[in-house]
Protein backbone atom coordinates (compact mmCIF):
# COMPACT_ATOMS: atom_id res chain seq x y z
CA UNK A 1 0.00 0.00 0.00
CA UNK A 2 0.95 3.66 -0.45
CA UNK A 3 2.33 5.35 2.65
CA UNK A 4 0.72 8.83 2.71
CA UNK A 5 1.12 11.88 4.84
CA UNK A 6 -1.62 10.81 7.22
CA UNK A 7 0.31 7.68 8.19
CA UNK A 8 3.20 9.77 9.27
CA UNK A 9 0.97 12.13 11.14
CA UNK A 10 -0.80 9.28 12.90
CA UNK A 11 2.56 7.81 13.80
CA UNK A 12 3.75 11.11 15.20
CA UNK A 13 0.55 11.51 17.18
CA UNK A 14 0.93 8.02 18.60
CA UNK A 15 4.52 8.74 19.58
CA UNK A 16 3.48 12.05 21.08
CA UNK A 17 0.81 10.30 23.11
CA UNK A 18 3.37 7.79 24.32
CA UNK A 19 5.69 10.59 25.30
CA UNK A 20 2.90 12.40 27.08
CA UNK A 21 1.88 9.35 29.06
CA UNK A 22 5.51 8.86 29.95
CA UNK A 23 5.75 12.40 31.24
CA UNK A 24 2.64 11.97 33.31
CA UNK A 25 3.33 8.53 34.73
CA UNK A 26 7.07 8.25 35.20
CA UNK A 27 8.42 8.87 38.68
CA UNK A 28 12.00 8.48 37.61
CA UNK A 29 13.53 11.73 36.50
CA UNK A 30 15.70 10.13 33.85
CA UNK A 31 12.74 8.32 32.34
CA UNK A 32 10.88 11.57 32.37
CA UNK A 33 13.59 13.18 30.31
CA UNK A 34 13.42 10.35 27.82
CA UNK A 35 9.69 10.90 27.57
CA UNK A 36 10.20 14.57 26.74
CA UNK A 37 12.69 13.52 24.07
CA UNK A 38 10.06 11.26 22.56
CA UNK A 39 7.62 14.15 22.60
CA UNK A 40 9.93 16.40 20.67
CA UNK A 41 11.03 13.77 18.18
CA UNK A 42 7.49 12.69 17.43
CA UNK A 43 6.98 16.25 16.32
CA UNK A 44 10.09 16.05 14.16
CA UNK A 45 8.66 13.17 12.18
CA UNK A 46 5.53 15.14 11.46
CA UNK A 47 7.53 18.19 10.46
CA UNK A 48 9.66 16.22 8.05
CA UNK A 49 6.64 14.57 6.49
CA UNK A 50 4.68 17.78 6.15
CA UNK A 51 7.58 19.72 4.67
CA UNK A 52 7.97 16.95 2.13
CA UNK A 53 4.25 17.12 1.45
CA UNK A 54 4.39 20.84 0.81
CA UNK A 55 7.95 20.41 -0.48
CA UNK A 56 8.91 23.47 1.49
CA UNK A 57 12.06 23.55 3.58
CA UNK A 58 10.70 25.44 6.58
CA UNK A 59 9.42 22.26 8.16
CA UNK A 60 12.72 20.47 7.92
CA UNK A 61 14.51 23.53 9.27
CA UNK A 62 12.15 23.45 12.21
CA UNK A 63 12.95 19.81 12.69
CA UNK A 64 16.66 20.52 12.77
CA UNK A 65 16.21 23.23 15.35
CA UNK A 66 14.06 20.97 17.44
CA UNK A 67 16.77 18.34 17.38
CA UNK A 68 19.36 20.90 18.41
CA UNK A 69 17.23 22.24 21.20
CA UNK A 70 16.34 18.77 22.40
CA UNK A 71 20.01 18.03 22.62
CA UNK A 72 20.82 21.11 24.64
CA UNK A 73 17.84 20.43 26.84
CA UNK A 74 19.22 17.04 27.64
CA UNK A 75 22.55 18.63 28.42
CA UNK A 76 21.06 21.04 30.91
CA UNK A 77 18.63 18.50 32.24
CA UNK A 78 21.24 15.89 32.89
CA UNK A 79 23.39 18.50 34.53
CA UNK A 80 20.66 19.30 37.00
CA UNK A 81 19.92 15.63 37.43
CA UNK A 82 23.49 14.84 38.33
CA UNK A 83 23.73 17.60 40.90
CA UNK A 84 20.50 16.42 42.41
CA UNK A 85 21.71 12.88 42.53
CA UNK A 86 24.93 13.98 44.20
CA UNK A 87 22.94 15.69 46.93
CA UNK A 88 20.19 13.16 47.55
CA UNK A 89 21.52 10.15 45.66
CA UNK A 90 18.13 9.42 44.23
CA UNK A 91 16.33 10.73 41.20
CA UNK A 92 12.80 10.08 42.37
CA UNK A 93 10.26 12.77 41.59
CA UNK A 94 8.28 12.27 44.79
CA UNK A 95 11.37 13.12 46.82
CA UNK A 96 11.36 16.68 45.61
CA UNK A 97 8.39 18.29 47.26
CA UNK A 98 9.90 20.36 50.04
CA UNK A 99 8.06 23.42 48.76
CA UNK A 100 4.29 23.26 48.82
CA UNK A 101 1.14 25.22 49.68
Amino acid sequence: MEIGLNHYLVLSVILFAIGLIGVMRRKNLLMLFFATEILLNSVNIAFAAISHYYNDLAGQMFAFFVIAIAASEVAVGLGLLIVWHKKHNNINLDEMSTMRG
Binding site: V43, S51, M61, E73, V83, M96, M99
Partner: protein, 502 residues
Protein backbone atom coordinates in the same frame (compact mmCIF):
# COMPACT_ATOMS: atom_id res chain seq x y z
CA UNK B 1 18.21 20.39 -7.29
CA UNK B 2 18.00 23.79 -5.64
CA UNK B 3 18.53 26.79 -7.85
CA UNK B 4 21.24 29.19 -6.55
CA UNK B 5 19.78 32.22 -4.81
CA UNK B 6 21.28 35.66 -4.81
CA UNK B 7 20.25 38.16 -2.24
CA UNK B 8 21.28 41.79 -2.08
CA UNK B 9 23.07 42.56 1.17
CA UNK B 10 20.84 45.56 1.89
CA UNK B 11 17.69 43.46 1.70
CA UNK B 12 19.12 41.33 4.50
CA UNK B 13 18.98 44.46 6.62
CA UNK B 14 21.31 43.00 9.25
CA UNK B 15 20.85 46.16 11.32
CA UNK B 16 17.77 44.48 12.71
CA UNK B 17 20.03 41.93 14.37
CA UNK B 18 22.18 44.47 16.20
CA UNK B 19 20.18 44.65 19.45
CA UNK B 20 20.40 40.85 19.79
CA UNK B 21 24.03 40.62 18.78
CA UNK B 22 25.18 43.11 21.40
CA UNK B 23 24.36 41.02 24.49
CA UNK B 24 25.71 37.88 22.79
CA UNK B 25 28.99 39.63 22.10
CA UNK B 26 28.99 40.90 25.66
CA UNK B 27 28.47 37.39 26.95
CA UNK B 28 31.32 36.05 24.89
CA UNK B 29 33.50 38.92 26.05
CA UNK B 30 32.86 38.01 29.67
CA UNK B 31 33.70 34.38 29.01
CA UNK B 32 36.91 35.35 27.24
CA UNK B 33 37.98 37.61 30.10
CA UNK B 34 37.43 34.75 32.48
CA UNK B 35 39.43 32.55 30.17
CA UNK B 36 42.47 34.81 30.45
CA UNK B 37 42.21 35.82 34.08
CA UNK B 38 39.85 33.93 36.35
CA UNK B 39 38.83 34.77 39.93
CA UNK B 40 37.71 38.28 39.01
CA UNK B 41 35.52 40.14 41.41
CA UNK B 42 31.86 40.06 40.49
CA UNK B 43 31.66 43.84 40.33
CA UNK B 44 33.66 43.72 37.10
CA UNK B 45 31.12 41.51 35.41
CA UNK B 46 28.23 43.45 36.80
CA UNK B 47 29.57 46.65 35.37
CA UNK B 48 30.42 45.00 32.05
CA UNK B 49 26.91 43.63 31.70
CA UNK B 50 25.54 47.03 32.66
CA UNK B 51 27.58 48.61 29.91
CA UNK B 52 26.55 46.02 27.38
CA UNK B 53 22.93 46.39 28.26
CA UNK B 54 23.32 50.14 28.16
CA UNK B 55 24.66 49.93 24.64
CA UNK B 56 21.87 47.53 23.77
CA UNK B 57 19.37 50.02 25.08
CA UNK B 58 20.85 52.75 22.94
CA UNK B 59 20.73 50.49 19.92
CA UNK B 60 17.08 49.84 20.62
CA UNK B 61 16.39 53.55 20.85
CA UNK B 62 18.07 53.92 17.50
CA UNK B 63 15.88 51.34 15.83
CA UNK B 64 12.93 52.84 17.61
CA UNK B 65 13.83 56.07 15.89
CA UNK B 66 13.85 54.31 12.55
CA UNK B 67 10.52 52.66 13.35
CA UNK B 68 8.86 55.94 14.17
CA UNK B 69 10.15 57.31 10.86
CA UNK B 70 9.31 54.55 8.42
CA UNK B 71 7.28 51.98 10.23
CA UNK B 72 7.84 48.27 10.68
CA UNK B 73 11.23 46.92 9.58
CA UNK B 74 11.82 43.37 8.42
CA UNK B 75 15.15 41.73 7.76
CA UNK B 76 17.16 38.53 7.31
CA UNK B 77 14.77 36.84 4.88
CA UNK B 78 11.88 38.43 6.77
CA UNK B 79 12.84 36.42 9.79
CA UNK B 80 13.25 39.52 11.91
CA UNK B 81 10.26 41.71 12.42
CA UNK B 82 10.97 44.96 14.25
CA UNK B 83 7.59 46.50 14.94
CA UNK B 84 6.18 48.47 17.86
CA UNK B 85 5.54 45.41 19.97
CA UNK B 86 9.05 44.13 19.44
CA UNK B 87 10.57 47.45 20.40
CA UNK B 88 8.39 48.10 23.41
CA UNK B 89 8.91 44.63 24.78
CA UNK B 90 12.66 44.83 24.20
CA UNK B 91 12.73 48.13 26.02
CA UNK B 92 11.03 46.47 28.94
CA UNK B 93 13.30 43.43 28.76
CA UNK B 94 16.53 45.38 28.61
CA UNK B 95 15.35 48.03 31.01
CA UNK B 96 14.33 45.49 33.62
CA UNK B 97 17.62 43.70 33.12
CA UNK B 98 19.45 46.97 33.71
CA UNK B 99 17.64 47.29 36.98
CA UNK B 100 18.26 43.67 37.87
CA UNK B 101 21.97 43.31 37.30
CA UNK B 102 23.14 45.63 40.11
CA UNK B 103 21.20 43.50 42.56
CA UNK B 104 24.08 41.08 42.26
CA UNK B 105 26.25 43.46 44.31
CA UNK B 106 24.90 42.24 47.63
CA UNK B 107 26.47 42.79 51.00
CA UNK B 108 26.44 39.12 51.85
CA UNK B 109 28.27 36.78 49.49
CA UNK B 110 26.03 34.62 47.31
CA UNK B 111 28.08 32.24 45.33
CA UNK B 112 26.23 32.23 42.01
CA UNK B 113 27.50 35.73 41.38
CA UNK B 114 31.10 34.65 41.77
CA UNK B 115 30.78 32.69 38.52
CA UNK B 116 31.27 34.80 35.38
CA UNK B 117 29.10 32.20 33.64
CA UNK B 118 26.19 33.59 35.56
CA UNK B 119 26.47 36.89 33.75
CA UNK B 120 27.23 35.29 30.42
CA UNK B 121 24.16 33.14 30.67
CA UNK B 122 22.17 36.13 31.77
CA UNK B 123 23.13 38.04 28.66
CA UNK B 124 22.41 35.03 26.45
CA UNK B 125 19.03 34.79 28.04
CA UNK B 126 18.33 38.41 27.21
CA UNK B 127 19.34 37.82 23.63
CA UNK B 128 16.99 34.86 23.56
CA UNK B 129 14.09 36.91 24.76
CA UNK B 130 14.88 39.61 22.27
CA UNK B 131 14.82 37.14 19.40
CA UNK B 132 11.60 35.72 20.72
CA UNK B 133 9.78 39.02 20.53
CA UNK B 134 11.42 40.42 17.42
CA UNK B 135 10.04 37.91 14.93
CA UNK B 136 6.83 36.30 13.80
CA UNK B 137 8.54 33.15 12.65
CA UNK B 138 7.51 30.20 14.78
CA UNK B 139 10.97 28.65 14.47
CA UNK B 140 12.82 31.70 15.66
CA UNK B 141 10.31 32.17 18.44
CA UNK B 142 10.97 28.59 19.50
CA UNK B 143 14.73 29.04 19.39
CA UNK B 144 14.60 32.29 21.32
CA UNK B 145 12.24 30.82 23.86
CA UNK B 146 14.37 27.79 24.49
CA UNK B 147 17.65 29.70 24.60
CA UNK B 148 16.23 31.97 27.21
CA UNK B 149 14.57 29.21 29.19
CA UNK B 150 17.57 26.92 29.27
CA UNK B 151 19.72 29.82 30.44
CA UNK B 152 17.16 30.67 33.07
CA UNK B 153 17.00 27.10 34.44
CA UNK B 154 20.70 27.25 34.98
CA UNK B 155 20.61 30.66 36.61
CA UNK B 156 18.07 29.37 39.08
CA UNK B 157 20.07 26.29 39.82
CA UNK B 158 23.21 28.36 40.40
CA UNK B 159 21.68 29.78 43.56
CA UNK B 160 22.92 26.51 44.93
CA UNK B 161 20.52 25.60 47.70
CA UNK B 162 18.41 22.49 47.93
CA UNK B 163 15.30 24.42 47.15
CA UNK B 164 16.84 26.09 44.16
CA UNK B 165 17.79 22.76 42.59
CA UNK B 166 14.32 21.45 43.20
CA UNK B 167 12.96 24.63 41.68
CA UNK B 168 15.22 24.33 38.67
CA UNK B 169 14.25 20.74 38.05
CA UNK B 170 10.56 21.49 38.34
CA UNK B 171 10.83 24.49 36.08
CA UNK B 172 12.92 22.52 33.65
CA UNK B 173 10.53 19.63 33.42
CA UNK B 174 7.55 21.87 32.97
CA UNK B 175 9.53 23.85 30.43
CA UNK B 176 10.37 20.76 28.49
CA UNK B 177 6.74 19.73 28.40
CA UNK B 178 5.83 23.24 27.29
CA UNK B 179 8.42 23.02 24.53
CA UNK B 180 6.84 19.79 23.41
CA UNK B 181 3.40 21.38 23.30
CA UNK B 182 4.72 24.39 21.49
CA UNK B 183 6.41 22.39 18.79
CA UNK B 184 3.34 20.22 18.36
CA UNK B 185 1.09 23.26 18.10
CA UNK B 186 3.46 24.83 15.62
CA UNK B 187 3.46 21.62 13.66
CA UNK B 188 -0.31 21.60 13.45
CA UNK B 189 -0.38 25.14 12.15
CA UNK B 190 2.33 24.29 9.68
CA UNK B 191 0.25 21.35 8.59
CA UNK B 192 -2.88 23.38 7.95
CA UNK B 193 -1.20 26.40 6.42
CA UNK B 194 2.13 25.21 5.08
CA UNK B 195 3.90 28.14 6.62
CA UNK B 196 5.69 29.02 9.86
CA UNK B 197 5.25 32.78 9.55
CA UNK B 198 2.42 33.91 11.75
CA UNK B 199 1.10 36.56 9.38
CA UNK B 200 1.23 34.13 6.46
CA UNK B 201 -0.61 31.54 8.52
CA UNK B 202 -3.19 34.17 9.26
CA UNK B 203 -3.57 35.02 5.58
CA UNK B 204 -3.85 31.40 4.51
CA UNK B 205 -6.43 30.63 7.15
CA UNK B 206 -8.41 33.72 6.25
CA UNK B 207 -8.17 32.80 2.57
CA UNK B 208 -9.72 29.39 3.05
CA UNK B 209 -11.73 30.95 5.87
CA UNK B 210 -10.85 28.35 8.47
CA UNK B 211 -12.15 25.35 6.53
CA UNK B 212 -10.33 22.82 8.71
CA UNK B 213 -11.17 24.60 11.93
CA UNK B 214 -10.78 21.37 13.87
CA UNK B 215 -7.03 21.30 13.29
CA UNK B 216 -6.72 24.99 14.00
CA UNK B 217 -8.35 24.49 17.37
CA UNK B 218 -6.07 21.58 18.20
CA UNK B 219 -3.12 23.77 17.35
CA UNK B 220 -4.48 26.63 19.38
CA UNK B 221 -5.05 24.41 22.38
CA UNK B 222 -1.45 23.20 22.31
CA UNK B 223 -0.03 26.66 21.85
CA UNK B 224 -2.29 27.95 24.57
CA UNK B 225 -1.04 25.21 26.87
CA UNK B 226 2.59 25.99 26.17
CA UNK B 227 2.13 29.71 26.72
CA UNK B 228 0.00 28.85 29.70
CA UNK B 229 3.16 27.34 31.16
CA UNK B 230 5.31 30.33 30.30
CA UNK B 231 2.75 32.89 31.49
CA UNK B 232 1.84 30.68 34.44
CA UNK B 233 -1.83 30.74 33.65
CA UNK B 234 -3.96 28.59 35.93
CA UNK B 235 -3.90 25.55 35.73
CA UNK B 236 -0.40 25.61 34.25
CA UNK B 237 0.87 27.83 37.05
CA UNK B 238 1.81 25.14 39.53
CA UNK B 239 5.56 25.53 39.09
CA UNK B 240 5.53 29.28 39.66
CA UNK B 241 5.35 29.62 43.46
CA UNK B 242 7.87 26.85 44.00
CA UNK B 243 10.31 28.23 41.48
CA UNK B 244 10.01 31.72 42.91
CA UNK B 245 10.55 30.40 46.38
CA UNK B 246 13.51 28.34 45.27
CA UNK B 247 15.31 31.03 43.37
CA UNK B 248 16.85 34.13 44.87
CA UNK B 249 14.41 36.97 45.50
CA UNK B 250 16.09 39.15 42.92
CA UNK B 251 15.85 36.53 40.22
CA UNK B 252 12.27 35.77 41.20
CA UNK B 253 11.41 39.39 40.72
CA UNK B 254 13.12 39.34 37.37
CA UNK B 255 11.24 36.20 36.35
CA UNK B 256 7.95 37.79 37.25
CA UNK B 257 8.57 40.46 34.63
CA UNK B 258 10.82 39.68 31.69
CA UNK B 259 9.93 36.14 30.54
CA UNK B 260 6.28 37.07 30.86
CA UNK B 261 6.43 40.15 28.68
CA UNK B 262 8.22 38.15 26.02
CA UNK B 263 5.56 35.47 26.16
CA UNK B 264 2.84 38.11 26.11
CA UNK B 265 4.14 39.60 22.91
CA UNK B 266 4.24 36.24 21.19
CA UNK B 267 0.80 35.37 22.54
CA UNK B 268 -0.44 38.69 21.24
CA UNK B 269 0.98 37.97 17.80
CA UNK B 270 -0.52 34.51 17.64
CA UNK B 271 -3.90 34.88 19.34
CA UNK B 272 -4.81 38.33 18.10
CA UNK B 273 -5.89 37.14 14.69
CA UNK B 274 -7.34 33.89 16.00
CA UNK B 275 -9.59 35.65 18.48
CA UNK B 276 -10.98 37.87 15.79
CA UNK B 277 -11.39 34.90 13.50
CA UNK B 278 -14.86 34.55 14.94
CA UNK B 279 -14.06 31.21 16.50
CA UNK B 280 -16.30 31.86 19.48
CA UNK B 281 -15.21 29.24 21.89
CA UNK B 282 -11.56 30.16 21.60
CA UNK B 283 -12.64 33.46 23.07
CA UNK B 284 -14.54 31.56 25.73
CA UNK B 285 -11.52 29.45 26.67
CA UNK B 286 -9.39 32.54 26.96
CA UNK B 287 -12.09 34.36 28.95
CA UNK B 288 -12.33 31.51 31.43
CA UNK B 289 -8.54 31.23 31.57
CA UNK B 290 -8.18 34.90 32.37
CA UNK B 291 -10.87 35.00 35.04
CA UNK B 292 -9.74 31.78 36.70
CA UNK B 293 -6.10 32.87 36.71
CA UNK B 294 -6.90 36.23 38.25
CA UNK B 295 -9.27 34.91 40.85
CA UNK B 296 -7.74 31.65 41.93
CA UNK B 297 -4.23 33.10 42.14
CA UNK B 298 -5.61 35.84 44.35
CA UNK B 299 -7.41 33.36 46.52
CA UNK B 300 -4.29 31.24 46.97
CA UNK B 301 -2.24 34.31 47.71
CA UNK B 302 -4.64 35.04 50.57
CA UNK B 303 -3.56 31.99 52.50
CA UNK B 304 0.20 32.23 52.06
CA UNK B 305 2.43 32.60 55.09
CA UNK B 306 5.56 33.54 53.19
CA UNK B 307 5.77 36.95 51.55
CA UNK B 308 7.74 35.66 48.59
CA UNK B 309 5.20 32.98 47.79
CA UNK B 310 2.48 35.57 48.25
CA UNK B 311 4.20 37.79 45.73
CA UNK B 312 4.56 34.79 43.43
CA UNK B 313 0.82 34.19 43.44
CA UNK B 314 0.18 37.89 43.17
CA UNK B 315 2.31 38.08 40.03
CA UNK B 316 0.37 35.13 38.62
CA UNK B 317 -2.82 37.07 39.22
CA UNK B 318 -1.31 40.17 37.65
CA UNK B 319 -0.40 38.09 34.62
CA UNK B 320 -3.99 36.94 34.38
CA UNK B 321 -5.13 40.52 34.72
CA UNK B 322 -2.92 41.53 31.82
CA UNK B 323 -3.85 38.49 29.75
CA UNK B 324 -7.29 40.09 29.63
CA UNK B 325 -5.76 42.65 27.28
CA UNK B 326 -5.12 39.94 24.71
CA UNK B 327 -8.66 38.70 25.14
CA UNK B 328 -10.08 42.17 24.61
CA UNK B 329 -7.68 42.77 21.72
CA UNK B 330 -8.30 46.41 21.00
CA UNK B 331 -5.51 48.92 20.44
CA UNK B 332 -6.34 50.46 23.79
CA UNK B 333 -6.12 47.14 25.58
CA UNK B 334 -2.84 46.20 23.91
CA UNK B 335 -1.33 49.54 24.83
CA UNK B 336 -2.76 49.08 28.30
CA UNK B 337 -0.85 45.81 28.46
CA UNK B 338 2.46 47.53 27.87
CA UNK B 339 1.67 50.50 30.09
CA UNK B 340 0.64 48.13 32.84
CA UNK B 341 3.72 46.01 32.48
CA UNK B 342 6.14 48.92 32.51
CA UNK B 343 4.61 50.27 35.72
CA UNK B 344 4.33 46.78 37.14
CA UNK B 345 8.01 46.06 36.53
CA UNK B 346 9.00 49.06 38.61
CA UNK B 347 6.82 48.16 41.53
CA UNK B 348 7.31 44.43 41.47
CA UNK B 349 11.07 44.58 41.00
CA UNK B 350 11.07 47.05 43.86
CA UNK B 351 9.17 44.81 46.23
CA UNK B 352 11.26 41.75 45.36
CA UNK B 353 14.41 43.78 45.89
CA UNK B 354 13.09 44.74 49.33
CA UNK B 355 12.90 41.03 50.07
CA UNK B 356 16.36 40.64 48.57
CA UNK B 357 18.01 43.15 50.90
CA UNK B 358 16.32 41.58 53.88
CA UNK B 359 17.60 38.13 52.95
CA UNK B 360 19.70 36.57 55.71
CA UNK B 361 22.41 34.05 54.95
CA UNK B 362 20.91 31.45 57.27
CA UNK B 363 17.47 31.14 58.76
CA UNK B 364 16.83 32.23 62.38
CA UNK B 365 15.05 29.71 64.60
CA UNK B 366 11.76 31.58 64.90
CA UNK B 367 11.24 31.80 61.13
CA UNK B 368 10.01 28.87 59.11
CA UNK B 369 10.93 30.47 55.78
CA UNK B 370 13.16 33.20 54.37
CA UNK B 371 10.50 35.84 54.17
CA UNK B 372 7.66 34.68 56.40
CA UNK B 373 5.21 37.41 57.37
CA UNK B 374 6.13 37.49 61.03
CA UNK B 375 9.67 38.37 60.05
CA UNK B 376 8.31 41.79 59.11
CA UNK B 377 6.23 42.29 62.23
CA UNK B 378 6.79 45.69 63.80
CA UNK B 379 9.19 46.72 61.07
CA UNK B 380 8.04 50.34 61.33
CA UNK B 381 9.61 50.63 64.77
CA UNK B 382 13.09 49.44 63.84
CA UNK B 383 13.39 50.28 60.14
CA UNK B 384 10.82 52.97 59.43
CA UNK B 385 12.12 54.02 56.03
CA UNK B 386 12.36 50.50 54.68
CA UNK B 387 8.91 49.73 56.06
CA UNK B 388 7.43 52.82 54.45
CA UNK B 389 8.95 51.99 51.06
CA UNK B 390 7.75 48.39 51.26
CA UNK B 391 4.33 49.70 52.24
CA UNK B 392 4.35 51.94 49.19
CA UNK B 393 5.11 49.01 46.91
CA UNK B 394 2.32 46.99 48.49
CA UNK B 395 -0.19 49.83 48.07
CA UNK B 396 0.92 50.25 44.49
CA UNK B 397 0.46 46.55 43.80
CA UNK B 398 -2.97 46.76 45.39
CA UNK B 399 -3.78 49.51 42.92
CA UNK B 400 -4.23 52.30 45.42
CA UNK B 401 -3.95 55.62 43.62
CA UNK B 402 -1.89 57.58 42.77
CA UNK B 403 0.85 54.96 42.82
CA UNK B 404 2.20 53.41 39.66
CA UNK B 405 0.04 50.38 39.19
CA UNK B 406 -3.22 52.24 39.70
CA UNK B 407 -2.81 53.93 36.32
CA UNK B 408 -2.19 50.63 34.62
CA UNK B 409 -5.18 49.02 36.29
CA UNK B 410 -7.36 51.99 35.47
CA UNK B 411 -6.39 52.03 31.81
CA UNK B 412 -6.76 48.27 31.56
CA UNK B 413 -10.23 48.24 33.12
CA UNK B 414 -11.17 51.17 30.94
CA UNK B 415 -10.09 49.21 27.88
CA UNK B 416 -12.31 46.35 29.06
CA UNK B 417 -15.20 48.78 29.40
CA UNK B 418 -14.66 50.30 25.99
CA UNK B 419 -14.12 46.85 24.51
CA UNK B 420 -17.58 45.88 25.68
CA UNK B 421 -16.40 43.44 28.36
CA UNK B 422 -18.34 45.05 31.21
CA UNK B 423 -18.58 41.91 33.32
CA UNK B 424 -14.87 41.31 32.88
CA UNK B 425 -14.24 44.88 34.00
CA UNK B 426 -16.23 44.27 37.16
CA UNK B 427 -14.44 40.99 37.81
CA UNK B 428 -11.11 42.73 37.41
CA UNK B 429 -12.17 45.46 39.80
CA UNK B 430 -13.36 43.03 42.45
CA UNK B 431 -10.20 40.99 42.08
CA UNK B 432 -8.18 44.06 42.90
CA UNK B 433 -10.31 44.30 46.02
CA UNK B 434 -9.56 40.71 47.00
CA UNK B 435 -5.90 41.27 46.25
CA UNK B 436 -6.05 44.25 48.55
CA UNK B 437 -6.31 41.87 51.47
CA UNK B 438 -2.99 40.11 51.20
CA UNK B 439 -1.01 43.19 50.37
CA UNK B 440 -2.68 44.80 53.36
CA UNK B 441 -1.71 41.79 55.45
CA UNK B 442 1.96 42.67 55.03
CA UNK B 443 1.29 46.31 55.82
CA UNK B 444 -0.59 45.23 58.92
CA UNK B 445 2.39 43.15 59.98
CA UNK B 446 4.86 45.91 59.31
CA UNK B 447 2.93 48.82 60.80
CA UNK B 448 0.51 47.47 63.37
CA UNK B 449 1.99 44.41 65.00
CA UNK B 450 4.83 44.15 67.47
CA UNK B 451 8.05 42.32 66.57
CA UNK B 452 8.11 38.60 67.24
CA UNK B 453 11.65 38.84 68.58
CA UNK B 454 13.25 42.16 69.39
CA UNK B 455 15.62 43.08 66.56
CA UNK B 456 17.79 46.05 65.76
CA UNK B 457 16.16 46.40 62.39
CA UNK B 458 19.44 45.41 60.80
CA UNK B 459 17.81 42.18 59.71
CA UNK B 460 15.66 44.10 57.21
CA UNK B 461 18.67 45.60 55.49
CA UNK B 462 21.15 42.78 56.14
CA UNK B 463 21.97 42.63 52.48
CA UNK B 464 21.85 46.30 51.65
CA UNK B 465 24.58 48.01 49.68
CA UNK B 466 24.58 51.29 47.86
CA UNK B 467 23.73 49.74 44.47
CA UNK B 468 20.79 47.83 45.90
CA UNK B 469 19.55 50.91 47.69
CA UNK B 470 19.87 52.87 44.48
CA UNK B 471 17.83 50.34 42.56
CA UNK B 472 15.15 50.36 45.25
CA UNK B 473 15.27 54.13 45.26
CA UNK B 474 14.69 54.20 41.51
CA UNK B 475 11.85 51.74 41.84
CA UNK B 476 10.29 53.75 44.65
CA UNK B 477 10.54 57.02 42.75
CA UNK B 478 9.08 55.35 39.72
CA UNK B 479 6.24 54.02 41.83
CA UNK B 480 5.37 57.23 43.59
CA UNK B 481 5.78 59.72 40.77
CA UNK B 482 4.40 57.52 38.05
CA UNK B 483 1.57 59.96 37.46
CA UNK B 484 4.07 62.43 36.02
CA UNK B 485 5.25 60.00 33.36
CA UNK B 486 2.01 58.22 32.63
CA UNK B 487 0.95 60.61 29.93
CA UNK B 488 4.16 60.35 27.88
CA UNK B 489 4.29 56.60 28.35
CA UNK B 490 0.69 56.24 27.28
CA UNK B 491 1.17 58.30 24.14
CA UNK B 492 4.40 56.49 23.21
CA UNK B 493 2.95 53.05 23.81
CA UNK B 494 -0.23 53.82 21.92
CA UNK B 495 1.68 55.12 18.93
CA UNK B 496 3.94 52.08 18.81
CA UNK B 497 1.13 49.58 19.24
CA UNK B 498 -1.12 51.35 16.79
CA UNK B 499 1.52 51.65 14.11
CA UNK B 500 2.29 47.95 14.29
CA UNK B 501 -1.33 47.25 13.54
CA UNK B 502 -2.55 45.84 16.88
Amino acid sequence: MLSPINVSFESLNLATLVPMIIPIVGALLILIIDLFKSEQHKSLFVMLSLLVLGVDFVALMDSAGIFTKNGTITGVFDMMLIDGLALLSQFIIVGASLLFIPLALTHKRFHEFSYPEFFALFLFMIAGFQFMVATDNLILIFVGLETASLALYTLIAMHNRDKSFEAAVKYFTMGALAAGFYSFGAMVFYAVSGSVEINEIAQVLKANNYEDIGFVLVGVVFLLASFGFKLSMVPFHTWTPDVYEGSSAALAGYMSIVPKIAAFVVAMRIFEFLIHSGVVWLEVILYIGVVVTMTMANIWALVQTDVKRMLAYSSISHAGFVMAAILIGTTQSNSALFLYWILFSFTNLGSFSMLWISRQKNLPAHQQSDHSYDKFAGMIKTAPVAATIMGLFMLSLAGVPPFALFWGKMYMISSAVTGGYTVLALIMALNSAIAGYYYLKLIVYMFMRDPVVENSGHVYVANATLPLKTIIGIAAVGTIFAFVAVNQLLELVTVFVYNSGY
